[in-house]
Amino acid sequence: MQSEQRYAIEELIYRSCLALDAKDYTAFLALCDADFHYAITTYSPELRREQVWLDHDRGGMQTLFTNLPRHNSDHSPITRHATVYTVEPGTDSEVNVVSALQVFRTQLDGGATELFAVGRLHDTVRLNEDGAKLARRTVRLETRQLGYGYHVPF
C-alpha cells in the first residue's frame, strides 16, 4: 500500500471521530459511502454470547441523528481517541482497518473528564476516485457498563 493511501485511510478514521465529537452528523455521513452500515457490538461473558447494541444502515443512521434532538440527552461532550493499528487489504477496492478506541466524557459543570468506554473500531474503507469512504463500521466495545448511558453512537 502506498503511503498516500495509508495517510488517506488514517485521516478518514480520524475525521470520522472529529465529526462525531462535534455532533456534525452531516460531516460524518459525508465520510460514509451510500451503502454504509454501522453497528455497536460486544461480547457478554455473563451470557457467553455476542450482543448487538446498535445496528443501522446509512438511512437508519440519518434517522437516528434526526431524532436525537427531540429527546432528552446528557449534554456532556464525549471525545473519541482513535489510533489506527492495522490496515489490511480486503476485497476489490476495500481495506480493513482496526483502530483502538477510547471514549472520554467531560462534565459540563467543572469540566472533569472520565474514561467512558474502550473498544476497537473495525472499519471497512472503500478506495475510489473520490478518495476514501467508510463502507462499514463496527464499534467493538470492551466496556459494557456505561452508567446512565449516552444517545450518540461512538
Binding site: E46, R49, Q51, V52, W53, G149
Partner: protein
C-alpha cells in the same frame, strides 16, 4: 411565590400516604435496614434458565442483601443456588460471571464441590484433619431456588421465607399467558447509577413520566386508549399495568412490531412491578427484565435483560434485537432518558442537599398517570420497615414479613 425554609420543610397538604420523606432515599441507617427487611426475606430474580441451559452451567449473582451467589444447573438438570463462599477460608469459589463447571474448585487450597453443594475433595484431608473434620462437614450453604414465571431463576436467602407463589400472589396473572413458550436472554448489561434503588423502581411504577420520553409521547400518549391503561395493586407490594395498542410506526425510523409475541395483540404492552426492585416489561416484541441491586443509599446497579423466544428464526431474533435496541438498549432512546432522570434525582436528593419531600399525590382513578403504583409500593415499605415512609426516622416496629404465610 417561592417558598422560604419553613414552607419548604412543611409536609405537603396531601394525605400522608401521598408523599414520602426524601430521607428514605438518602439515609445510611435506613438503607442498611432495607437490606435486612426488604431484600433478605424477598424472592429475587438471579438469572434466566436460558443462561444456564446445560448441566453444570453456572451463573454468578450478587444478591441485593450483599450475599455472593452461584446459580448452577446440576447433573440432574435441577437448578440450585449456593453462597459463592468457600467454607474453608471464606474465599470466592467461582470468579467468572458464567461458565460450565463439573467441579467448583476454590483456587486457594483446591477444595472442590459438586453442583449439589457437596464437598467432594479436600486437599490432604486426612493428614490435616485426621478424623476431626471431613468433606461431609464442608458442604456449601444452599439457598432456596425456584424456576418460575417465565423461566426465571428466583432465589431467597432466608430459609423460612414464604413460598414464591405466595410472595407473587396474583401479580403475574396478567403476564403468564404470554410466557408459556420457552424464552431466551439475548441482551444483558448493567448500569451503575448514583441514585437510590427505589427511585428506579418508582420510575417503573408510574407512567406520568412518559412526558420524559419523546418516543412514548408519539407512540403512546397521543394515541387512543392511553388514558385507559390501569394500575392494579397486589399483596406484598407488587403492581401491574394493563395494556394498550402502541403505535410504533408513529416514530420516525420505527415501524409496527410485526414480529409480534405469542397471544399478544400487535403493539401490546404489559408491566409487572415486583417488590422490592424488579420489573417485567413486555412490549411487543421483547420482554425486558430489570433487577435493581442497591449498593448504597445513593448508588444502584441495575441488571437489564432482553428476551425473545427460544424458537426465534434468525430473522425474528434480529428484529427483536432491533426493537429492543431502539428504546431499551444502552444507546436506546428511552433507557438513557430514564437513567438520566434518576441520576438527576440522585444529584438533587443525596444527604445534605435540602431535598425534603417526594410527592405521589396524583389520583386519576388508577389510570396511567395516577401515582397509585408508587403509593402501593410505599405502603408495603412502611409495613416492612415498621413506620411510615412519610416519617421514616421515627422509632417503629416492622411487621414480620412471614405474616402473610
Amino acid at each position: 411565590m417561592a417558598k422560604n425554609a419553613a414552607q419548604w420543610d412543611s409536609p405537603p397538604t396531601f394525605p400522608q400516604t401521598h408523599f414520602v420523606d426524601s430521607r428514605v432515599y438518602t439515609d445510611d441507617a435506613i438503607f442498611e435496614e432495607e437490606k435486612e427487611k426488604l431484600f433478605r426475606p424477598s424472592w429475587i430474580i438471579a438469572c434466566h434458565e436460558s443462561e444456564i441451559e446445560a448441566p453444570f452451567d453456572y451463573r454468578l449473582f450478587n444478591h441485593p442483601a450483599g450475599v455472593p451467589l452461584i446459580v448452577v444447573r446440576g447433573d440432574d438438570k435441577k437448578v440450585r443456588a449456593f453462597y459463592n463462599i468457600c467454607p474453608h477460608r471464606g474465599n470466592t469459589i467461582l470468579y467468572d460471571p458464567a461458565g460450565n463447571a463439573k467441579r467448583m474448585t476454590c483456587i486457594f487450597h483446591q477444595w472442590s464441590f459438586d453442583t449439589r453443594g457437596n464437598c467432594v475433595d479436600i486437599s490432604r484431608e486426612e493428614q490435616g484433619y485426621q478424623k476431626r473434620f471431613c468433606k461431609a462437614d464442608a458442604a456449601l450453604r444452599e439457598v432456596k431456588c425456584e424456576v418460575a414465571f417465565g423461566g426465571f431463576v428466583w432465589i431467597n436467602i432466608t430459609d423460612n421465607c414464604m413460598p414464591l407463589r405466595e410472595f407473587i400472589g396474583g401479580a403475574m396473572d396478567i403476564l403468564e399467558p404470554y410466557m408459556e413458550e420457552p424464552m431466551e436472554v439475548f441482551h444483558f448489561h448493567k448500569a451503575r447509577v448514583r441514585t437510590n434503588f427505589k427511585l428506579w423502581h418508582d420510575t417503573n411504577s408510574e407512567f406520568y413520566h412518559d412526558f420524559l420520553h419523546y418516543f412514548n409521547r408519539i407512540t403512546g400518549m397521543l394515541q387512543p386508549g392511553y388514558y385507559e391503561r390501569r394500575y392494579t395493586p397486589f399483596a406484598n407490594g407488587h403492581a401491574t399495568v394493563g395494556s394498550m395498542q402502541i403505535q410504533y410506526d408513529k416514530y420516525e425510523g420505527s415501524k409496527e412490531r410485526a414480529v409480534g409475541w405469542p397471544k399478544m395483540a400487535v403493539g401490546g404492552w404489559y408491566m409487572v412491578d415486583i417488590f422490592p426492585g424488579m420489573t417485567y416489561n413486555l412490549r411487543t416484541s421483547v420482554l425486558r427484565i430489570d433487577t435493581a441491586i442497591p449498593l448504597g443509599p445513593n448508588e444502584v446497579l441495575i441488571e437489564f435483560r432482553g428476551l425473545g423466544l427460544k424458537r426465534d428464526t434468525k430473522e425474528e431474533r434480529k428484529q427483536r434485537v432491533f426493537d429492543h435496541n431502539m428504546i431499551w438498549g444502552p444507546f436506546g432512546r428511552n433507557l438513557h432518558e430514564d437513567l438520566l432522570a434518576v441520576h438527576g434525582q440522585g444529584r438533587a436528593m443525596h444527604e445534605g442537599t435540602g431535598s425534603r419531600w417526594v410527592l405521589q399525590g396524583r389520583e386519576e382513578n388508577s389510570t396511567i398517570h395516577d401515582e397509585v403504583g408508587m403509593r402501593h409500593y410505599y405502603a408495603e415499605w412502611s409495613r416492612r420497615m415498621g413506620r411510615p415512609a412519610y416519617d421514616p426516622c421515627r422509632e417503629g416496629k416492622s411487621e414480620p414479613v412471614r405474616a402473610a404465610a
